[in-house]
């Protein structure tokens, strides 16, 4: 998906060992950008197909999230909805086992994250080699400015070598 030329890295976390919790947190997010982009590259440890990469904003664990998924899986196109969720489903996250050379990619766009007037929307793109490709639209029903976000992979641990980077984008 298009990424503007004003993309600036805010923080990055590259795992040097397996992450048992599956939880990555970015806190104290500067309020000086227009949009945020998260790029997650890696794999879960288990040898099953895939799990979820989930997002919560500002520590909100209430059922304030919803999303719509458009996906290809096993050569078939389909769409589904998730409502009244306690997390935002961003993308699936590849479970490739400990020895595989496969890695999955998630690119999560968070729009107008610092405003205090509107609910926050997201657009996420997932690529899981061998399993699926997908596009997800998400909503967090809160007018609060996003100051922190937590990524959680529900199949754990996340293998060493995975990287999670938060970028800020400034409008012209």
């Amino acid at each position: 998906m298009p990424l503007p030329s004003t993309m600036t890295p805010i923080a990055t976390n590259t795992l040097t060992s397996n992450l048992a919790s599956g939880v990555i947190t970015f806190s104290n997010i500067p309020q000086t950008y227009t949009d945020l982009v998260i790029v997650a590259v890696g794999q879960g440890y288990t040898s099953s197909s895939y799990g979820n990469l989930q997002v919560q904003f500002n520590g909100d664990t209430g059922t304030n999230y919803s999303s719509t998924e458009l996906k290809e899986f096993a050569g078939t196109a389909s769409s589904s909805r998730r409502t009244t969720q306690s997390y935002l489903f961003a993308t699936s996250f590849l479970d490739a086992g400990s020895a595989s050379l496969l890695v999955g990619t998630s690119i999560i766009n968070v729009f107008n994250y610092a405003n205090t007037t509107t609910f926050k929307s997201t657009l996420s793109r997932g690529n899981l080699p061998g399993f699926k490709t997908e596009l997800n639209v998400g909503l967090w029903r809160s007018t609060a400015a996003i100051t922190s976000l937590t990524l959680t992979a529900n199949d754990t641990p996340i293998n060493a070598g995975a990287s999670f980077t938060l970028y800020g984008i400034k409008a012209a």
Binding site: T6, T8, L70, E72, A77, V103, T105, P129
Partner: protein, 168 residues
């Protein structure tokens, strides 16, 4: 500091070209992004990437495609990544397609995955929008990329830009 850096750009001249190549790609970035604005000279609307000159059947793909009426999906293996879409020669004149390719960790020791989105607009019933996930089954760092159409040439004024992204 903005860390999405243009590495190279190409605009096709008169007569068109059969491919667009970026060679000698610096190994100093984290990810690569390619933006395309292209149109085909032939009745074929696909666009893809080939890495390090590898023309073997080493590229797996899976896609979801809308044509203005129905959504379909598919998987397979071919000799380049799928993902881009561009107007065919029969589509509305002066119309170019748009596509983006995101290539994370292009210098890594893992197989290389590519996320791409492409559209081919047309002032008619049928036009294409496609999401594609691809995999190059090779652990080599990517040092060159060749952009190729399904058949024919890229016409004049087609353009491609390669960006590098640093996460530090």
């Amino acid at each position: 500091m903005a860390n999405m850096i243009p590495i190279s750009t190409t605009t096709v001249g008169s007569g068109g070209v059969s491919s667009i190549a970026f060679t000698g790609i610096p190994q100093t970035y984290t990810d690569l992004v390619i933006y395309l604005s292209t149109r085909a000279s032939a009745a074929s609307d696909s666009v893809g990437l080939r890495f390090n000159g590898d023309s073997g059947s080493n590229y797996a793909y899976r896609y979801i495609l809308g044509n203005g009426a129905t959504a379909t999906a598919g998987t397979g293996t071919t000799t380049y990544t799928l993902g881009g879409r561009q107007p065919e020669s029969t589509f509305t004149a002066n119309t170019f397609g748009s596509a983006s390719f995101y290539i994370p960790n292009y210098t890594s020791i893992y197989y290389k995955s590519v996320s791409s989105d492409g559209v081919s607009e047309n002032n008619a019933t049928t036009a294409m929008a496609q999401l594609t996930g691809s995999l190059w089954n090779n652990i080599s760092p990517i040092n060159s990329i060749t952009i190729i159409p399904g058949s024919g040439n890229f016409v004049q004024y087609s353009s491609a830009t390669l960006y590098g992204i640093r996460k530090y």
